[in-house]
């Protein structure tokens, strides 16, 4: 049986499933991965009513996020995922991914967004100048082209994931199969859909337990992940699905362009 730090999908030998989950769906998703991997390892139980509790007598070494989860139970599944998403351990996971070059730092994303705003406002100023001043239309048009070029050039830098991060998520999606719960959850989230079934259904989780899971609203940064704070959460929509080998939806809809390419947008129940 795979441990939490075993790369279960062959996506990236150096990334743990929790890290893969973080890339695909944010800190909540990473927590879902921690929970499901512990259940798979026989260290946690999820009762029909959603109460998650520890199984005694399994002295093992766990990842920091798994340790947080084990320390936090008994607790309802939904609350546990939210707590995990907000935990210091999830933040450390994120920091680790930033340092490894998979996730952009919140500061750099913010800075690029500000630069783009300044460009845009400058262009608006030029438009007004041309309307009420003596600026020529050609200058405004040139400025517009410049703005478009600047927007295009900076586009990759406002996404929470780096190229390596997006590539990792794409490869994760390509290798996901329903018989492997951990990568399945990492990619889709418990509230994600595989075909006509929710992932929680595929895993045999009771509907009452799953009802406690929450989708994170777009723009909800409560997870504490500044650069991975927006998105559809543990999304079940089929807004993206291009790169997946399964017919279901993607977990991340940050860019909407492909399941693999979005990344970090979902909250995985947060």
């Amino acid at each position: 049986m795979a441990t939490s730090w075993t790369s279960t999908s062959g996506v990236s030998a150096e990334l743990w499933p929790e890290q893969q989950g973080f890339l695909a769906g944010g800190p909540g998703r990473a927590t879902e991965v921690a929970v499901v991997s512990l259940v798979e390892a026989g260290a946690l139980r999820i009762a029909r009513n959603g109460l998650v509790s520890a199984v005694q007598g399994l002295p093992r070494s766990w990842t920091p996020l798994q340790t947080f989860v084990l320390r936090s139970v008994p607790r309802p599944l939904g609350d546990l995922v939210v707590a995990g998403a907000r935990s210091v351990e999830a933040q450390s996971l994120r920091q680790n991914l930033v340092e490894s070059g998979y996730v952009r730092s919140a500061g750099s994303v913010r800075a690029v967004r500000w630069v783009r705003r300044v460009f845009f406002l400058s262009w608006i100023g030029l438009v007004l100048w041309s309307l009420f001043g003596d600026l020529t239309f050609g200058t405004v048009l040139s400025a517009f082209v410049g703005l478009m070029v600047a927007t295009g050039v900076t586009s990759p830098y406002v996404r929470p994931l780096t190229r390596a991060g997006r590539s990792t998520v794409r490869r994760l999606g390509a290798g996901v199969v329903t018989s492997q719960p951990v990568p399945l959850v990492a990619y889709y989230g418990l509230l994600g859909k595989v075909g006509k079934q929710f992932v929680w259904q595929v895993l045999g989780i009771d509907p009452v337990a799953a009802a406690g899971l929450r989708r994170r609203r777009k723009g909800d940064g409560s997870s504490g992940s500044a650069s991975c704070g927006s998105g559809c959460g543990s999304c079940s929509s089929s807004s993206c699905g291009g790169s997946s080998s399964d017919s279901g939806s993607s977990s991340s809809s940050d860019s909407g362009s492909s399941c693999g390419g979005g990344g970090c947008g979902g909250g995985g129940g947060d």
């Binding site: 026989g42 139980r45 999820i46 009762a47 029909r48 009513n49 109460l51 509790s53 199984v55 005694q56 007598g57 399994l58 008994p74 009771d206 009452v208």
Partner: protein, 265 residues
């Protein structure tokens, strides 16, 4: 004596799916944790499979000086009907006195006077229950002074005067043997085994020289040995494993059930 129940386990919400997966013949639920009109899905699933579900109460306080709380008895009775249970059970103890709740199953003094009170309460409860009532011996860390009867004789007279059933907890008996010097053989010889409903088995551990019936640790071989001594006298209709905390893996629980079956074989 009650017809064969087999080997069962205490159903608890935390391990509901585990209980559904385990090979058990019957389960017991803590009556105070369930509502007759809102049974947990897992309990309904088990009932649907034909698994008997026995309500086990902890709050009737039958040994107390206060009259039995009619609402608690009504709740227990409603639960028995909802579960189609053949009988219900509680303990030979008191949990309330003077408006205070002890939070523990407190032993009653083994005097004639206390027995009279207990008998009156049991008869009152039985009158309002739709099914027979079984009474369980408790584990005690102290004995009241001036006991007039041994624990076995006390239970025997209680059964004789109330016509109730017996639920023998061999783990409690073992605990009392360890902590209070109760003679296991004498206890088993004195109680009316023909009135035996079923048996409880549970784990515990010693802490600072005192054995605690924790229901949160593995069942000791010594407890199974008490079960073996009981089995030498009578084939128990049912034996139930109680676990209330620090739940181990499914495999470990299955192993404990198998150990019980081995004693009964």
């Amino acid at each position: 004596m009650v017809e064969g129940l087999g080997v069962g386990i205490g159903w608890r919400p935390e391990i509901d799916l585990t209980v559904e997966r385990l090979d058990v013949d019957f389960v017991e639920v803590v009556a105070e944790n369930l509502h007759a009109d809102r049974l947990p899905e897992s309990v309904r699933v088990l009932r649907g499979r034909g698994v008997p579900v026995l309500p086990h109460a902890v709050s009737l306080s039958l040994g107390g000086a206060d009259p039995v709380d009619a609402h608690r008895v009504a709740h227990l009775g409603a639960l028995a009907e909802a579960l189609d249970a053949p009988f219900v059970s509680d303990h030979v103890c008191f949990v309330r006195a003077g408006g205070l709740d002890s939070g523990h199953l407190m032993p009653v003094p083994r005097t004639r006077e206390a027995l009279d009170v207990l008998v009156a309460n049991v008869k009152a409860a039985r009158a309002d229950l739709p099914v027979p009532l079984a009474l369980e011996n408790v584990a005690a860390l102290l004995e009241w002074p001036d006991a007039e009867l041994s624990e076995g004789r006390f239970l025997a007279e209680l059964v004789e005067r109330t016509d109730c059933l017996l639920l023998v907890d061999v783990a409690n008996l073992y605990a009392n043997a360890r902590n209070l010097g109760t003679d296991v053989g004498r206890f088993l010889d004195e109680i009316p085994l023909e009135r035996l409903a079923y048996v409880h088995v549970a784990g515990g551990r010693e802490h600072q020289g005192v054995y605690h019936d924790t229901h949160a640790h593995a069942v000791l071989p010594e407890v199974l040995d008490v079960l073996r001594q009981l089995k030498e006298r009578v084939d128990p209709p049912g034996v139930l494993l109680e676990r209330d905390d620090d739940y181990p893996s499914d495999a470990e629980l299955a192993g404990e059930l198998a150990a019980i079956r081995a004693v009964l074989a």
